[in-house]
């Protein structure tokens, strides 16, 4: 069984030990790099499906690694960071990283992120125009949204917000990415708009809006449609 090839760029031996066992135990093949420089070389030579990148590498700023990677490849990148690096996390995501994990994280969280990233490698089948999560079913062809098989009316902006999240299902999408996609580049800083519409969306789609099941808020970062 082979679930795919993962490049792990991480310099801390304890983290390496845990990650190696977990990743290999779930039938992924693994390449390890302990420096950013080696990581970039391995990424180019081996063409991995997913890259796990620690933001605190000794030889290069993590953001710079992502910038260089993104200049020639679009492999899914999951960044690993400590909580003190919140700003870096947002910059990494806006620079093109796909998702993040904050230390400490559980094996379950790690594998969930990897699965989502691997899925991106095989794009959504066109026949798959029906998207389902919890009680919600979205028909992307007819632009209809159903909650428990009852159609719910969404405004154009609400629907567009929802489709951006569906397109990135499972991944965190930053405030500025959502604003740019739905409202346009000039609105990248207007997070209040986003919050108003997210609140409306939750009220229409979640059974308990204050304790959402799939429209998840990632404080200070963005939103995630949880699968």
């Amino acid at each position: 069984m082979d679930n795919g090839l993962i490049l792990l760029i991480e310099d801390e031996p304890q983290m390496l030990r845990f990650l190696r066992i977990t990743i290999k135990g779930h039938h992924y093949r693994l390449i390890e790099a302990e420096t950013a420089k080696d990581g970039l070389v391995q990424a180019a030579m081996r063409n991995p499906d997913v890259i796990l990148l620690d933001l605190g590498l000794p030889d290069m700023d993590g953001i710079e690694v992502i910038r260089q990677l993104r200049s020639w490849c679009d492999t899914a990148v999951i960044v690993i960071s400590a909580r003190e690096q919140d700003e870096d996390k947002i910059r990494a995501l806006d620079m093109g990283a796909d998702d993040y994990l904050t230390k400490p994280f559980s094996a379950g969280e790690l594998l969930a992120r990897i699965r989502v990233a691997m899925r991106r490698k095989t794009p959504m089948q066109q026949a798959d125009h029906i998207f389902t999560v919890c009680d919600m079913k979205v028909n992307l062809a007819t632009r209809q949204v159903f909650i428990n098989d009852v159609e719910t009316h969404l405004t154009p902006i609400e629907y567009s917000l929802l489709t951006v999240l569906i397109k990135n299902a499972g991944k965190v999408v930053t405030h500025s990415q959502l604003l740019k996609e739905v409202w346009g580049a000039n609105y990248a800083n207007q997070t209040q708009y986003l919050r108003v519409y997210m609140a409306q969306l939750r009220r229409k789609l979640e059974s308990t809006p204050a304790r959402p099941k799939f429209l998840i808020n990632e404080p200070a970062i963005g939103y995630r449609l949880k699968l």
Partner: protein, 298 residues
């Protein structure tokens, strides 16, 4: 004429007096008067300097005591979960010990839970130093409080398990300006206490309401409640509830510092029918012009 102002043994200033007309002289009486003005000034300056020095010394002593209390408190509170982790891990590593799968599972669960506990302690310590070092760095953003409640619940979902969580949030809550990560920390600390101090199937209730220009957020449990007179004291540093199972006693102190930095208040009381209720307020300010109405749709 110049007169030195001497406080203690060193000169701290000079008193200079000029006479308008060139032919005038100071008489003895005037000289004495000026000398006593210089002396009085010197005494006043000396008194202020001494009191400032004394205050500084006191502050330093207080910081020193605080640091010592903090250090001993931290090392105790960090060692307790560490001891549980070391103990469980070494038991699992022992070769000639036959454990059944339930026992193994329990030891592994202990390691995981205690590591989470350590993480929570460290996060609180980091926030505490952040607050004490340079006032608090509040990164305010306009947002809804229920979004952050949802995020805190989501983060604690494993620990909450099947525990009933009652929510009462009116739909018309205004947007507030606050630091999402800091207020999330307040909610997590309050929820953490409710989880820690009450039985695992005891309900927790979360409420929000608008009152007198503030939004009041409540985290209420049905546990043993607070002992008499504990309602204020538990917000002080290193004071933990008399109930067992508590952490370092920093959680509520941090809650208070964060809420105060947002211009709100936090308090605790016992509930009718048993249990503790923690409430905090955040000011419901007007948003700056033009930001209230979202654009994009008519």
């Amino acid at each position: 004429m110049y007169l030195p102002i001497v406080a203690g043994t060193k000169a701290v200033g000079v008193l200079g007096v000029a006479i308008e007309s060139e032919n005038d002289f100071f008489d003895l009486g005037q000289i004495h008067l000026l000398e006593s003005i210089a002396n009085q000034t010197a005494v006043a300056i000396e008194r202020i300097t001494l009191s400032m020095e004394a205050q500084q010394a006191l502050l330093k002593a207080e910081t020193e005591t605080l640091r010592n209390t903090l250090l001993s408190s931290i090392s105790h509170d960090l060692r307790t979960p560490l001891a549980a982790i070391t103990g469980s891990a070494t038991t699992l590593l022992e070769k000639d010990l036959a454990l059944n799968s339930d026992e193994k599972h329990e030891l592994l669960l202990t390691i995981y839970e205690e590591a989470e506990h350590l993480n929570q302690i460290i996060r609180n310590i980091l926030n505490m130093t952040r607050i004490e070092a340079d006032g608090i760095t509040v990164k305010k953003q306009w947002q809804y409080i229920d979004e952050i409640v949802g995020a805190a619940l989501n983060r604690l979902s494993e620990r909450l398990g099947d525990r009933p969580v009652e929510m009462s949030f009116p739909e018309a809550l205004p947007m507030l300006s606050f630091d999402p990560l800091l207020i999330e920390q307040v909610l997590m600390n309050l929820l953490d206490n409710a989880i820690k101090y009450t039985p695992h199937d005891s309900p927790i209730s979360l409420t929000a309401a608008v009152k007198d220009g503030y939004v009041v957020v409540g985290v209420k449990d049905r546990g043993p409640g607070l002992a008499d007179g504990e309602e204020l004291r538990i917000f002080d540093k290193f004071v933990r509830s008399t109930s067992k199972g508590g952490g370092i006693g920093l959680g509520l102190t941090i809650c208070r510092a964060i809420v105060t930095a947002h211009g709100g208040q936090i308090w605790a009381e016992n509930r009718q029918g048993g249990g503790a209720a923690f409430s905090f307020t955040l000011p419901a300010l007007e948003q700056s012009n033009g930001e209230v109405q979202p654009v994009g749709e008519q």
